[in-house]
């Protein structure tokens, strides 16, 4: 997993819970990297799972909620770092479709070793967009947060329906509808 995810996650934890919490979850987790991350590095994804688990325990907050909040936080980071992706389109659907078709293609050019989730999109007849998330990392909530923030960014009144295709959360269907 790319180092930016870890640095952004720990930054969000420091902002919301103070560095004490950051220090705490690092210390509590058994991390091969010893919790030392740089955004240009690459680390094993089990480290984020441990960090998230320890944060959930220490903050007494559901891990999925934390993950969704992390998605929302990450959106702003992306928007700041790569504004060209967001300016190229003017609505959430086109943007969401472009993730798999365009953004991830560009990411892989820059980081050939990156493991990215897959988003299959399909415009439905009723005007909604179906988006199926597939990843062994089972971090659909992070995606949900990102989707939600996208809708907010393009200032439309879409709502998100979430349906687990696989119980383990490796495949999740999002349906983005006009409210």
């Amino acid at each position: 997993m790319k180092g930016i995810v870890f640095t952004e996650f720990l930054e969000m934890v420091e902002k919301e819970f103070g560095y004490e919490m950051v220090d705490k979850i690092i210390e509590e987790s058994k991390l091969p990297s010893n919790g030392i991350y740089t955004s240009v590095g690459t680390y094993h994804h089990s480290e984020i799972v441990q960090l998230l688990g320890n944060l959930s325990t220490n903050s007494k907050t559901d891990a999925q909620v934390l993950l969704k909040a992390f998605g929302e936080y990450l959106f702003d980071t992306f928007l700041k770092a790569y504004p060209q992706f967001f300016d190229a389109v003017d609505n959430p659907f086109d943007f969401l479709i472009s993730i798999d078709n365009h953004i991830h293609v560009e990411v892989l050019k820059l980081y050939p070793d990156a493991t990215l989730p897959k988003f299959d999109t399909q415009r439905l007849e009723d005007g909604s967009l179906e988006m199926i998330y597939q990843s062994e990392r089972k971090m659909a909530s992070l995606a949900e947060g990102l989707i939600e923030k996208s809708i907010a960014y393009y200032k439309t009144s879409h709502v998100i329906e979430k349906e687990m295709i696989n119980e383990d959360g490796s495949v999740v269907k999002f349906t983005i509808k006009q409210s």
Partner: protein
């Protein structure tokens, strides 16, 4: 938790994270550097590659440019509007313009004005149809006005930017075109001449067809179609012989076809079937024709319709047959007339001779003399006419023998001298003293010619002389050339007349006819006879002074002495009591003439009025000699003779002498064939009759007188032959030769009768031929015929065939004997 220790850890983490990041960046930078290095290297390589490629491109361009420049063909490039972009050196040379004058100009400017329209159309079509390549031949006008032909291969090329241009390679084909044009011209000429000749042929009404070697029709010309009622190509592919030929001519055509294959031409006439089934006659001229290798591949037949001509020919043939028949009728008439005239004439001459022997006063004697002279003239006239018909018919046979020419002339001359009683004309006979005493020719004919010439001279000479000159012109060991001249001092003839007098019925002029009379045949006959003897009778004459008729004859010199003509009358020696003669004659006057003579000579005789009576008398009496007329009522002389010869009588071989008015050799031959012994031609003088009697009634006497007579071979029936011919070897020779002449034909006739199963004809033939064998001494064959004759009716065809085969073989096996005998007789005669 200790805040300071947390911060410491935070700081430491951030330091470590920075170092980690720096290290990563260092690595990435290094990677980047290496990647850059690689790129630079790559770039360098690419540049080198480009340089190399560029150079090779330049090289190859140079190469192509050289090729293009040095090419013998014109190479140029034009854009799709037809403007010149490039042209090579040879192109510039050919066009005759400078490069600058060509580049940028449109192709149209180099096309001759006459071709502009065609070439513009061609160019437009090629451009619009977007064909990739095309070949085209057209003309180009060079700057100096010369026009030349090029054959152009053009390629359509599309640039990367989509623009189109054409590259073309063109070759000067002016020479080839010239050849082509010449060929085309020649072809047109050929066609013209073909049309011309076709036209001629059409006008000539000649039907042409061409057939292959199997006779199948390849081509038919209009006239041929018209000739046979066909149209168009109806006949093509059909077999000419099967379709067109009238069957009876197939064999002829096969013969011709073989000739054609052998490369021979031929002209022949056949009948062809028309489409409607009718037939026409055509004359075909066929000639083979050949392929390039000289093999016969068929023949061409030129047909000309000769149906009309054939029709005419048929009519002509019918007319010719009619004419021949008429001619035959004329001959028969002539022959008959000779018989009819000669018979009473014979009586007149005979009677006048008898009258001479009676007591006459002077006046009566004079009358008789005149009567006799007139009859003689009439006889000569008839003889002349008969001579001419004999000569015309070619039936006059030369009888060569040795004779004394000097005495012949002498005798003749004396006769004429005697006749001249006035004494006004002097007769002179001159004979070369050196002349050979024995020469070979036909003395009788020479005699006749000289009689004619002397008679002629006498007729036209009133005073002066008539001269007969016989001299030797040249002589060698074997032969002599003898010249004869009859000169007179008579009226003579003009030169123009001289040219005509040898023609039949032509006398010098009409005046002669009225003044001198005569048939006008004498000189013509003489001329013809001299010709037959191998000479040429000619005349030189001066009118009013006389004529000189002359001819020369080449004669063989004979080694033996001429036969002395035995004129000594043996009458005194006749045993008149012992001998009896039978005279068979239907003409009362002739009977009277002959019997009067016989009475005068005191010879016992009987008379029969026809063959039947003669035979009856023959059976009752033993005759020593029979005189037999040929044409008689009830039964003719031939049949009577046959009956006598076939009779069982011991006297069956009695000599029978034919009496006939006919002087034709054929009659004589017939008589001999019929078994008659000799021949006496009417009218005959008492002397001739007497001679004949001497010949047959005194054989025993003569035998004694002439001991050295010819001895016949013992292989033949010598006893009989001796009896039959006595000392007359000439007669025997004649008979033997006659046998050889007739036997082949007779055998063929017999064979033919057996083949056609014509029994009556066979009987007649066997009957007739039977005595012939006896006459040449092979009487055993006569006996064979005698044996078979009674059984003929009961014989089968096979038996007849078998019999004939043996008979034929036996008869032919005797031929060498006869030939040998002829040789022997000849030798004997010489010695």
């Amino acid at each position: 938790m200790d805040e300071i220790s947390i911060l410491k850890r935070k700081l430491e983490r951030e330091n470590l994270a920075r170092k980690q990041a720096e290290s990563i960046l260092e690595t990435k930078a290094l990677e980047l550097y290496k990647a850059n290095e690689l790129l630079r290297e790559l770039n360098q390589n690419l540049e080198n590659e480009i340089a190399i490629r560029t150079k090779s491109l330049v090289d190859s361009e140079e190469k192509y440019r050289t090729v293009i420049e040095q090419a013998k063909d014109i190479i140029y490039r034009i854009d799709d509007e037809g403007y010149f972009l490039f042209i090579n050196k040879i192109g510039i040379e050919k066009f005759g313009y400078t490069e600058e004058e060509i580049i940028g100009k449109r192709y149209i400017e180099f096309i001759p004005e006459d071709d502009l329209e065609t070439e513009f159309a061609y160019y437009t079509e090629v451009r619009d149809s977007e064909v990739a390549t095309d070949y085209h031949e057209f003309r180009i006008a060079s700057k100096n006005g010369q026009v030349f032909w090029v054959g152009q291969n053009v390629n359509r090329i599309i640039n990367q930017d989509g623009t189109v241009y054409f590259t073309a390679v063109a070759r000067d084909i002016t020479r080839r075109k010239a050849t082509e044009n010449a060929l085309a011209k020649a072809k047109i000429e050929l066609q013209k001449s073909e049309i011309k000749y076709k036209g001629i042929l059409e006008n000539m009404e000649l039907g042409l067809i061409e057939v292959d070697t199997k006779g199948n029709i390849l081509r038919v010309y209009d006239i041929f179609n018209k000739m046979l009622g066909y149209e168009g190509n109806e006949l093509v592919g059909k077999n000419a012989n099967k379709t067109l030929l009238v069957e009876t001519f197939e064999e002829k055509l096969i013969e011709e076809d073989i000739k054609r294959i052998q490369g021979q031409t031929g002209v022949y006439e056949v009948k062809l079937k028309k489409k409607d089934g009718s037939e026409i006659w055509v004359i075909i001229s066929g000639a083979p024709f050949y392929d390039e290798k000289g093999n016969v591949i068929g023949s061409i037949g030129v047909h000309y319709d000769i149906t009309d001509r054939k029709e005419l020919e048929n009519q002509l043939e019918i007319s010719r047959r009619k004419a021949v028949k008429a001619q035959q009728a004329e001959k028969a008439f002539l022959a008959n007339m000779s018989h009819e005239i000669r018979t009473p004439l014979n009586a007149i001459i005979g009677m006048s001779h008898l009258l001479m022997d009676t007591q006459l006063d002077e006046e009566q004697a004079d009358f008789i003399d005149t009567l006799n002279n007139s009859a003689s003239i009439l006889k000569t006239l008839i003889s002349d006419i008969l001579d001419i018909s004999k000569i015309d018919a070619g039936s006059l046979v030369m009888q060569y023998r040795s004779f004394n020419i000097k005495s012949l002339g002498e005798k003749l001359f004396n006769t004429f001298k005697k006749q001249d009683q006035d004494g006004k004309v002097e007769f002179i006979y001159t004979c070369d003293p050196n002349i050979h005493s024995s020469l070979i020719s036909d003395p009788q004919l020479i005699n006749q010619v000289l009689i004619n010439l002397l008679g002629n001279a006498q007729k036209f000479t009133n005073s002066g002389s008539i001269e007969l000159i016989i001299n030797v012109i040249s002589e060698n060991n074997d032969s002599a050339k003898i010249g004869f001249q009859v000169k007179d001092t008579g009226i003579g003839i003009s030169k123009i007349e001289a040219n005509q007098i040898f023609q039949e019925f032509k006398q010098a002029n009409n005046e002669i006819r009225t003044k001198f009379g005569g048939s006008g045949l004498g000189l013509s006959i003489s001329y013809q006879l001299v010709k037959l003897l191998g000479g040429k009778l000619s005349v030189s004459s001066v009118q009013g002074e006389g004529s000189n008729f002359s001819f020369e004859l080449e004669m063989k010199i004979s080694e033996d002495l001429p036969r002395v003509e035995n004129k000594i009358s043996l009458l005194n020696k006749l045993d008149t009591d012992k001998n009896t003669i039978l005279v068979v004659e239907d003409n009362a006057m002739n009977i009277k003439y002959i019997t009067s003579l016989l009475n005068k000579w005191k010879i016992k005789h009987h008379v029969a009025l026809n063959g039947k009576e003669a035979y009856d008398l023959f059976l009752e009496n033993e005759y020593d000699l029979i005189f037999m007329d040929l044409q008689m009522p009830i039964m003719g002389g031939f049949e009577a003779t046959q009956l006598i010869r076939e009779s069982k009588s011991t006297n069956a071989q009695v000599p029978i002498v034919a009496l006939t008015a006919s002087t034709f050799l054929s009659k004589k031959r017939l008589a001999l064939k019929a078994g008659m012994t000799d021949f006496l031609s009417k009218p005959f003088t008492p002397d001739q009759l007497h001679e004949m009697i001497d010949k047959y009634l005194n054989s025993s006497e003569i035998e004694i007188v002439q001991e050295e007579h010819f001895t016949f071979s013992n292989e033949l029936d010598s006893e009989y032959l001796k009896q039959a011919y006595g000392n007359d070897s000439e007669y025997a020779l004649d008979m033997f030769e006659t046998y050889l002449e007739i036997i082949d034909d007779d055998l063929l006739l017999i064979q033919d009768s057996i083949r056609t199963n014509d029994l009556p004809a066979l009987k007649k033939q066997l009957h007739r031929i039977k005595p012939t064998f006896t006459m040449v001494g092979i009487s055993e064959i006569t006996k064979i015929i005698e044996t078979v004759e009674p059984t003929l009716n009961s014989m089968t065809k096979t038996e007849l065939d078998q019999w004939f085969n043996e008979f034929d073989k036996l008869t032919r096996s005797k031929t060498p004997l006869i030939t040998e005998e002829i040789k022997r007789i000849g030798l004997w005669q010489k010695n």
